[in-house]
């Protein structure tokens, strides 16, 4: 179980994340929702071990984020991050070298679905193809937790179906999937829980179906309501 307890992250005078406390169970898909600057990416990066919280703790299966959690948590950032010299093949080899749960055959299958060639240079890919490469590398891992930050950004409408299917393929009773996206209508179809963030704080967090019943509206409509007034 992934537990975030009273997590705060400050940068100089700006508070990116404030008092985030939540638990994420295995076997569920969570939508992490909010506009740009709401703290979603900052929180995800703390879970991935890329930044340290200013205050608070994040634990996975009772242990602090660190070497052991990184073996089990797969993070996909919004930005491209592969080394300039790398080809698509090199990216696969890199992941294979460092992540025991990386499945090279699955990586190649995902590449084929996304029309990516092993010879393509990562830095020369268009934004859409670069996004697909990130997804392929991340979902080719047999991780216990997947943190997908805007996985559908820059992806054409046809490829989105491939990606949503790929996400559903890794979903099982043992995995936790956290997806942040502005394409809330795409997510609504597949999520178990919805987490709404605004200005670094939690606004609403709960079971998606319960939220719909309580508020008498879809997650999409609720999103518009919460964030429409800034």
């Amino acid at each position: 179980m992934l537990i975030s307890k009273d997590v705060v992250k400050r940068y100089m005078s700006k508070v990116a994340v404030s008092g985030i406390s939540m638990q994420m169970e295995e076997g569920k898909i969570y939508a992490l929702l909010g506009p740009n600057g709401s703290g979603k990416t900052t929180w995800m990066k703390m879970v991935a071990g890329l930044i340290k919280p200013t205050i608070g703790t994040i634990t996975y299966n009772g242990k602090s984020i660190g070497v052991e959690s990184k073996k089990r948590i797969a993070y996909m950032s919004t930005e491209p991050f592969f080394y300039d010299y790398m080809t698509v093949y090199d990216v696969g080899r890199y992941y294979e070298d460092f992540f025991e749960d990386f499945d090279i055959e699955k990586y190649q299958q995902l590449l084929a679905k996304m029309d990516l060639s092993l010879k393509d240079k990562a830095k020369n890919l268009s934004s859409g193809l670069a996004a697909k490469l990130k997804i392929a590398a991340t979902l080719a891992r047999k991780a216990e937790v997947y943190l997908l930050d805007e996985p559908l950004n820059g992806i054409d409408i046809i490829a989105r179906d491939h990606i949503m299917n790929a996400i559903l393929e890794v979903a099982n009773e043992k995995t936790t999937i956290v997806i942040s996206s502005h394409l809330v209508d795409e997510l609504e179809k597949i999520i178990d829980n919805a987490i709404f963030m605004k200005n670094g704080t939690l606004v609403l967090n709960g079971d998606a179906e319960t939220i719909r019943k309580e508020h008498q509206k879809s997650i999409v409509d609720l999103y518009k309501e919460i964030y429409a007034h800034g």
Partner: protein, 247 residues
């Protein structure tokens, strides 16, 4: 850690290839001069080789620092910090790679120059006599018994001092990216810290080296002290990243 080292070397392979090509061209010029008995070509190629040697060592050193800086300040840092490796392993790989690259470049350059000098000495007896004259003069006038052992330990000491500066630079960059990340003017502050550390290391080092000591012993102590300094700065860098990583 070997895998981390492998990828560190891959990031910086192009510059090594470039240096190799330049040295290759110079060596060909040297061999051409040797075959044609063109002492001018010999002299020019040897002179440029020495210049290239120093430049290459400096370039490789700065490249190590710049690569590290890029790794901390760009999104490519994710490639390292998402992997299930401790910061001690990540920084350790960088330090080992830096030491290895700088050391290998220095040894490679020194070996080529030494071999070429030996060839020239064997070929031109008057140069051998000139070198002997220089050695005798240094012994009589400066009290320096210059032999290959002294030159070797002197070079090792110089190399380790240089490497310690590189690791100090890495430490300063880490400080700027971690504990000083929320500080205004962090670049200037970390630069001041770099120069302060440099000064302090120099002062502490002098405590162990007495003027009455033979030159060989001075170089040996300096080399050992610098090895400790490198280890200490590595641990400090890894500790800072472990506590305050923010990429």
């Amino acid at each position: 850690m070997l895998k981390l080292i492998k990828y560190e070397l891959r990031k910086q392979w192009f510059s090594k290839l470039f240096i190799l090509i330049v040295m290759g061209i110079l060596e060909l010029t040297f061999l051409f001069g040797l075959l044609r008995e063109d002492t001018e070509a010999l002299g020019i190629s040897m002179g440029i080789m020495v210049l290239v040697a120093f430049t290459a060592i400096m370039f490789v050193s700065f490249e190590c620092i710049m690569t590290y800086s890029k790794d901390l300040k760009t999104k490519q840092s994710y490639m390292l910090f998402l992997t299930p490796n401790s910061t001690y392993k990540i920084v350790g790989a960088k330090v080992i790679t830096s030491v290895a690259q700088i050391g290998f470049t220095a040894v490679f350059m020194a070996s080529i120059i030494f071999i070429n000098m030996t060839i020239v000495v064997l070929r031109y007896q008057n140069i051998e006599e000139m070198i002997k004259t220089i050695q005798i003069t240094m012994k009589n006038v400066m009290g320096l018994d210059v032999d290959y052992g002294l030159i070797l330990i002197g070079l090792i000491s110089f190399l380790l001092e240089w490497i310690s500066k590189v690791i100090m630079g890495i430490l300063a960059i880490t400080l700027s990216a971690t504990f000083l990340s929320n500080t205004k003017g962090k670049g200037i502050v970390s630069l001041i810290i770099f120069f302060t550390l440099n000064y302090m290391v120099g002062r502490i080092g002098k405590l162990f080296m007495l003027e009455s000591m033979p030159l060989f012993d001075l170089f040996m102590i300096d080399a050992i002290f610098m090895a400790f300094v490198i280890a200490a700065f590595y641990l400090a860098t890894a500790w800072m990243l472990d506590k305050k990583v923010s990429v």
